[in-house]
Symmetry: C2
Subunit: 401 residues, 2 copies
């Protein structure tokens, strides 16, 4: 009989979010009267705004017509790839450097195929679980050691280092997943820090996988929204991004990945050409309806709507941040990011999670689920209806004393 | 500097369909006056029928409303999973055995992660390129030997064995990709053959990955549309399927995979649980708009529309089949499948491809692109507008003499 892939056996327990959902269900079963509010997962809650939704609706309608019908669009609409380059990157990428995907997470899962099982992997600690779990799946990391996976370099991002890692610890010839605005900490790396990051990556022959899924939440004009704002990044970085958080496309599924042609392997081969090959082999393109929606999101009216939607969630983030701070709890994020990262010194994250669920009937995300350095932290997500956010903030006062 | 995944280096040349597109472009550039007709790729061309398209359009509209908005639906709509089980499998699968995907090809790319690089892989020869290329990508197969990849067992399906492989050649403890109705041959395995297949798989400890993407083209009531019509298949098979070909969803992106709970690895672990874990880790669910469309496709009116659409393409297949036969060229398929597999004894597939393109300005698919046993064959696809199919059939007469 056929054997299990030993890499799967290496992944411990459940994926973080299903585990939270399970605990929520158990609490709800035990307390059927409780009106639970979730500030847990990063799932968008507000309707898609009218102009962008019209793009989706008209796209769906178009598929019912002889003139408008369209089948496979493997590499994505040319016009969409051009517009992404123009709106987000001042036109500095050619269409064949912009790859349309069904979302950032899915592309992150596929990206590891570029480098294979032999790659060294480094992550910010804490970090979005997919970087690590995806690495374990592909065999680039091994068994769970109790605090992390063998073979993954965890670079702590804590209050002590202002949530930016010590780059002297970055391994050579590795891939480094870097997320800014960060999920879960909400911290945004500044231009000086990203310049250091690019410098370190080039010196060490490391490729940065830059996850910019929350870029549109940056409001401080001095903070970079893309790694490609930094000189030299084309030779050492791939950027993954998505319409999920700026346009509310979490359920629509549309993202993109930038693989510059300047990026080469040690042997001089083009990473861009391999990525095209991988996408052509095991991916069949994103939904064309979603692509028509994205085209609407990227014209003047759509860009305005994306800003409006992000502003709404940032308004909620501000409320949560203020509620947490008013309890004397130290936190970061929530200003240029929809996440607030709150510190409960000396305590276990799951224990704090349980306390907040018990006392406030509010679901959060335990920081330890994002890596060893997330221990004693809680992530609050600003994705929720405003009335729920306000009610949750009132209830958080119950944590006092 | 980081190294290239050696598995990618193992994949030869371009993926078949981009290569065909390239040759078509070159021909068009050299003959700007030519009105080229494509019977090459399996891309649907007809509008989505009204009831199903209404499902998509209303879904897109719903996302613009407070009540109807929906974000991530990782494991897919419960109602959709139930309805797939009911419509295609007489309700014999529980919802958690039905996994909603963004298409069969994408799931085939992910499925290899269940078994990993150490797995032996067997394919029908000829076969859909993704089975082989995906296996090479994951490291389950090695370098190109001139006729095939080292480590892949190619089981010839030729006129001599009536397009059903010699199962005594099936390796033990392997995964076996089996496609029926077959792409590219158009042959459909009958009940006796599939019963033998299940028997062989169980004896040899082999897992069948059954690709049923063309099942809705089966019109002969005696032919099975699913491997799960065969007793014992639950313990040895996974079935991959899609709305692309029956509902015209090639660009919409929606499919499903059945992983029965009875399917276990050698160590007794549940394959179903691992598949849920893989999907939860590196996939984020299919588009909810596409899922609303699929729900419409699976009510009475939608099922009728899917039949109507398949009937249309089958009508075109019949025309091509007759045109090919009238030239004295032997062929199979085209009756319960949208593909016609035509034999040109002693000739090179790409040479015949070039001759048909030159003389008829018709693009086909060279059989050798599907594996060594496809040499001397040409695949004709029935996906096209009727007027184009009729014109292509007239032009094929130029191949005479």
């Amino acid at each position: 009989m056929i054997k299990r892939n030993k890499c799967i056996a290496n992944i411990k327990a459940g994926y973080l979010f299903p585990e939270i959902a399970k605990r929520r269900r158990e609490f709800a079963a035990a307390h059927p009267e409780a009106k639970i509010i979730s500030l847990g997962v990063g799932n968008t809650t507000e309707p898609i705004l009218p102009h962008i939704d019209k793009g989706l609706t008209e796209g769906a309608k178009r598929l019912g017509t002889v003139e408008g019908y369209l089948g496979y669009t493997d590499e994505g609409f040319l016009e969409l790839r051009e517009r992404i380059s123009k709106v987000f990157y001042q036109g500095k990428f050619a269409p064949d450097e912009v790859f349309i995907s069904d979302g950032a997470k899915c592309d992150i899962g596929r990206l590891q195929l570029l480098f294979g099982a032999g790659t060294k992997v480094a992550v910010q600690d804490p970090s979005y679980p997919v970087y690590v779990d995806g690495s374990v799946l592909i065999g680039a990391a091994n068994g769970w050691t109790g605090t992390g996976y063998e073979g993954i370099a965890y670079l702590p991002c804590t209050a002590e280092n202002n949530y930016f890692p010590d780059l002297s610890k970055l391994p050579s010839d590795s891939i480094f997943y870097f997320c800014s605005p960060n999920n879960p900490t909400g911290a945004v790396a500044n231009r000086v820090q990203l310049t250091e990051l690019v410098k370190a990556a080039k010196e060490k022959g490391t490729v940065i996988i830059f996850d910019a899924a929350y870029a549109e939440y940056v409001r401080d004009p001095n903070l970079p929204k893309s790694i490609f704002e930094i000189e030299g990044a084309r030779e050492c970085a791939i950027e993954v991004n998505s319409f999920s958080k700026p346009a509310g496309f979490t359920g629509v599924r549309l993202g993109w990945t930038i693989v510059p042609k300047e990026l080469k392997y040690a042997g001089g081969e083009s990473v861009n050409a391999d990525w095209a090959r991988i996408c052509g082999t095991i991916f069949n393109g994103a939904s064309n309806i979603a692509q028509w929606g994205a085209l609407a999101a990227l014209d003047d009216e759509g860009v305005k709507e994306m800003k409006e939607l992000c502003d709404f969630y940032l308004g909620s983030a501000k409320l949560i941040r203020e509620a947490v701070q008013s309890l004397g709890i130290a936190c970061v994020g929530g200003d240029n990011s929809p996440y607030i990262w709150a510190r409960f010194p000396g305590r276990d994250s799951w224990e704090v999670f349980a306390e907040i669920l018990e006392k406030c009937q509010v679901v959060t995300t335990p920081g330890s689920g994002f890596g060893p350095a997330g221990q004693s932290f809680i992530r609050f997500s600003a994705f929720g209806h405003r009335a729920d956010i306000e009610e949750a903030c009132r209830r958080l006062a119950r944590l006092k004393g």
